[in-house]
């Protein structure tokens, strides 16, 4: 009986110590994960800023004109037309469809 009591007592002490050690170990692990999270969030923010800078309109326009030889459309070269719904769907109540037509891409002789 005495031996069993001592054994149980030792087990309880062991469980208590093991639990305290594990709490500290998990604490370190959580701290490491938090550090990793912070680093990843920082990298994400850096990348978001980079994406935003790279997609700036003036940069795109500069690349388009200087690298790709494109030029902004001149006055009258872009015509936005609105088709009447009855032309497309005579009996339906579909909303008007807006078409964006760039003059340079119209097939020749069709208009």
């Amino acid at each position: 009986m005495k031996t069993v009591t001592v054994f149980v007592g030792l087990c309880l002490v062991f469980v208590f110590v093991w639990e305290r050690v594990d709490v500290v170990r998990v604490g370190y692990h959580i701290e490491r994960l938090k550090r990793d999270k912070t680093v990843l969030e920082r990298q994400r923010d850096e990348l978001r800023v980079k994406v935003s800078a790279l997609s700036a309109s003036d940069r795109i326009a500069k690349l388009a004109t200087e690298k790709l030889g494109m030029s902004p459309p001149q006055q009258g070269q872009i015509i936005v037309v609105q088709s009447r719904p009855s032309d497309v769907h005579p009996s339906s109540d579909v909303a008007p469809v807006e078409l964006k037509v760039a003059k340079n891409y119209l097939p020749s002789g069709r208009f």
Binding site: V24, V49, S52, Q75, G76, V80, K103
Partner: protein
């Protein structure tokens, strides 16, 4: 003999043991009772670390969610001078990374202090290089740095924040209480190696980041406006320029461009004059653009109709001992032609027929002489003198846009009121405020301030203003396929030396809206001190046309007038 010696030794041993235990007991009482409070505090100080944490400053995005301002954590470098063995050697190693001169770094590191900043808010890459060096006596802490990834785009509206993250100008300043992250002190437990073991604040939440702002601004429209304005200011060799694009039905600001621009990422070397948002701080005499409001008031009060005939006095008329000139010698013309040809004499006559009281009432109704209450700091109220101080010439002068100071924002809000059928809307730039999780905290609805004129009057004025673009002074504002309404303005500036109107310094402007039959855009272009051709119709109207055409195309607004490809080909 042996027994007494043995007893003596036992007493000595006992005495020694008693002394030993006594000293231990004394020490225990001293530590655990007498010095308990002080030592407990010292232990806490060694095991616990209190850190001040600040939530990241909120993000600012345009109406499509494109990032315009954002915080990123970047490294700041400090030194602990009194722990350094060789400040010169350390300075030499740091200099190429920090881009600071060696002698300057050495001077800082030789100070008799335990902490000194060496460089703050560096690029992340510089931080990585510093980590690799791992120098004794040099530390790195992370701080939030504000980035404006689009560079100078919208800089005058966004403003900028200071080194400690506080908003100093523009939206950054106006919405400081929303953008600023929460500040919080947290206590962390440290082990013998200084590592954080188990934060006491584990169950506490981290400091809340600031709220984010969604603007009414459209990045693409803003870019188009800034590019065309910069071009125009450069071509005209002007001092500065301003352009505002407004949704006339809501008062939402789609673009607000100021030239010259500045980069909010590097403001330390610029003067405040450079970052002033002239669109709402600077009042100018509007000149003939004011005739649009005067016409609206006169038609609303039934003083005239568009076809009422007015005698142009062949270009000269004397009012209160001063001569008013017209650039054209007009005879009998309709009131519509008075506006289309921008006759000063015709406008003065109609203004005088309208009368002092009614003119003053309409100026106030259109919002002149008072702030528009836009959600941006530093707005000016313009200048409308108290009616009792008006002189004998004032009614005539104000009718043609002199003796009155307006801001470009006031003028575009007034022209938008004519565009939308007569209601003055409150301009605004922030449409939504959301918390860090994206939950909506505040949605800003359009706000109507008052009805100024009736829809019938607005339609009559629109027809007259369309004539300005088809047959009058503003033909260069025309946009193929769209009906454009607007008014040119060319105002002489006051010469500060003589106090009289300058013969060489002008403000050229054009205010209008498009499509005239269903306005989607109300715009104003103001060019300050253009050289050469100074007329609003020559300098500002083409900017209106170029921006209007591109923005209408971008928004997918269909043409309101038949456009033939033959016409398009001719223009290409």
């Amino acid at each position: 003999m042996a027994g007494s010696f043995s007893r003596g030794r036992r007493y000595v041993l006992l005495l020694l043991l008693l002394c030993g235990f006594g000293s231990v007991l004394f020490r225990l009482v001293t530590l655990q009772v007498l010095q308990a409070a002080e030592l407990s505090v010292r232990a806490d100080r060694q095991h616990q670390k209190t850190v001040s944490l600040e939530g990241a400053r909120g993000t600012i995005v345009d109406r499509h969610g494109k990032i315009l301002a954002m915080n990123v954590e970047v490294p700041s470098v400090f030194g602990v001078p009194n722990t350094l063995e060789s400040p010169l050697k350390t300075a030499r190693q740091l200099s190429p990374i920090l881009h600071v001169r060696t002698d300057e770094l050495e001077r800082k590191l030789r100070q008799d202090r335990s902490f000194v900043w060496l460089a703050r808010k560096l690029d992340p890459e510089q931080g990585r290089r510093l980590d690799l060096l791992s120098l004794d006596g040099i530390g790195v802490v992370m701080e939030g740095r504000r980035f404006y990834p689009k560079g100078p785009l919208l800089a005058h509206v966004l403003g900028f924040s200071g080194m400690d993250g506080e908003g100093l100008e523009g939206l950054e300043h106006r919405y400081e209480s929303y953008l600023r992250g929460e500040k919080r002190m947290m206590v962390l437990q440290r082990d013998a190696l200084g590592r954080t073991v188990f934060p006491k604040g584990m169950t506490e939440r981290s400091p809340t980041p600031g709220h984010s702002l969604t603007l009414t601004i459209d990045e693409v429209i803003q870019y188009i406006a800034e590019r065309e304005l910069e071009d125009a200011v450069g071509r005209a060799q002007a001092k500065s320029g301003t352009m505002i694009v407004l949704d006339p039905k809501t008062g939402a600001v789609l673009a607000m461009a100021v030239s010259p621009r500045f980069d909010p990422n590097a403001v330390s070397t610029l003067s405040p004059d450079r970052w002033r948002n002239r669109a709402l701080t600077d009042a100018y005499e509007p000149g003939s653009t004011m005739k649009a409001m005067m016409a609206a008031a006169a038609i609303e009060e039934r003083v005239v109709r568009p076809n009422t005939m007015v005698f142009g006095e062949h270009g000269h008329m004397t009012v209160a001992n001063t001569v008013i000139h017209d650039h054209e010698r007009l005879g009998w013309v309709s009131f519509a032609q008075v506006i289309q040809k921008s006759s000063n004499i015709g406008a003065a006559k109609i203004g005088m027929a309208l009368g002092e009281q009614r003119l003053h009432r309409y100026l106030q109704a259109f919002g002149f002489g008072q702030r528009t209450e836009i959600d941006l700091p530093g707005e000016g109220a313009g200048l409308v003198r108290n009616q009792k101080y008006w002189g004998r010439r004032s009614v005539a002068s104000i009718s043609m846009g002199q003796e009155i100071g307006v801001t470009p924002l006031q003028m575009v809000a007034a022209i938008a009121a004519i565009a939308n059928g007569g209601v003055l809307m409150k301009p605004y730039v922030v449409s939504e405020i959301r918390d860090a999780e994206g939950h909506m905290l505040r949605q800003v609805p359009p706000q109507a301030k008052r009805r100024v004129i009736s829809p019938e009057t607005a339609r009559s004025v629109t027809k007259i203003l369309e004539g300005v673009v088809t047959d009058g002074t503003g033909t260069k504002a025309a946009i193929p396929g769209f009906r454009v309404a607007g008014k040119t303005g060319t105002a002489q500036k006051i010469d500060p030396r003589t106090g009289t109107y300058s013969a060489s310094r002008f403000v050229a402007s054009f205010a209008g809206y498009v499509p005239a039959d269903n306005p989607q855009l109300a715009m104003i272009v103001v060019i300050d001190e253009p050289q050469g051709d100074v007329w609003g119709g020559a300098v500002a109207a083409p900017v209106f046309s170029r921006v209007g055409e591109q923005v209408l195309s971008y928004l997918g607004v269909p043409s309101s007038q038949p456009v033939t490809l033959a016409m398009a080909s001719r223009r290409s």
